[in-house]
Symmetry: C2
Subunit: 206 residues, 2 copies
């Protein structure tokens, strides 16, 4: 190994090469919405659809982030911001890896979501507002969290004792109280195809 | 969307499915060695070789980690540990995504590397000791860091004013002072093929 070679650090397998290998762009699909709005369900269903098209995907959610990378963080305002920052940074690494990554976090504050968006190149961040009325989410209450929050056992619970700031300009809005899961997935996929993220022929073959 | 569906959170696109799609396992190849030993050069060259075999790869190094996910960290002992912890966690996410991820950090302490290894399932963590005598690394000094450290301008510089703890049981050892880059890459690829991480037919086609 000559010393000339030692400084050759720049990776020659770069993002564009990985994207060519995968035949799709690296991309973040950022779901946001109230607890119980259907973010996780939708992100799982969308990932299944994309994988069936042969896309390379990865999903970041509370299960694999809060217990690992962010397990040192609590729920203070500072830690909440740091949590979203790290998720945004990791999403950036997955974009660089040519992967379509899906994130499913309430992410209630516009400023935090915009921070994650700001880490992405223009067009590489697709914000999906998973919209459902609070009453509908609370009636679903899949984890029993609204009941606990109403009983005063969860401080700063989004929608009850802390605000949810809906996106002003989300790339996609899905209404989970009036549409089926499949219809919502169709809607996101249509956005991705129409905007050139995914070839239409993939869609046909899925 | 029925409320029955809302709790269906478990991803049905799982690691095994992604590995089947990629036709190789998710895996971390963790390079460790002195500054100037050749970690970055080797990890770049290995990634090129693996990509040529059609493997899905991603490389984590100071360039994409220290300036992003870990940009809040300094070089105190606590921050050094947290830096390696986060890298280990992100490596775990990439393993879960079915990607062969390569990390190129000095990671001088056995305890820190073992922490990263402990996050991986048995066999999913391949430690590569990039071995070269300190005098050789210092003579190469590709970034001029040894000169600065000798001049007293970099405190706690590994090999000069802070220890480097060589791995006791690395999966692979490469000697960059007596082998070429290609020979070192061959050696790691041979380990991966011999141990069933990569099909031999991929190697033949590369």
């Amino acid at each position: 190994m000559s010393s000339d070679n030692i400084v050759r650090h720049e990776s020659r397998v770069d993002r564009r090469q990985r994207e060519a290998q995968n035949r799709h762009y690296g991309l973040t699909i950022w779901f946001t919405g109230l607890s119980g709005s259907g973010k996780s369900t939708l992100s799982v269903a969308l990932e299944e659809r994309l994988a069936a098209m042969g896309c390379r995907t990865y999903r970041l959610d509370g299960d694999n982030v809060r217990t690992g990378l962010c397990r040192d963080l609590e729920f203070s305002p500072e830690d909440r911001i740091e949590n979203i920052r790290r998720i945004g940074e990791v999403a950036g690494l997955f974009r660089d890896a040519g992967i379509i990554n899906l994130t499913a976090f309430i992410s209630p504050y516009r400023q935090d979501r915009d921070m994650a968006r700001a880490l992405a190149d223009e067009g590489d961040f697709v914000e999906v507002f998973v919209n459902a009325p609070l009453a509908v989410c609370e009636a679903r209450d899949p984890k029993g969290l609204y009941a606990k929050a109403r009983a005063g056992n969860i401080p700063n619970f989004t929608g009850i004792s802390a605000p949810y700031e809906p996106p002003e300009y989300p790339e996609v809005v899905v209404n989970t109280d009036t549409s089926t899961i499949d219809e919502c997935v169709d809607h996101v996929v249509e956005y991705l195809v129409t905007n050139g993220y995914i070839d239409a022929d993939r869609q046909a073959s899925a």
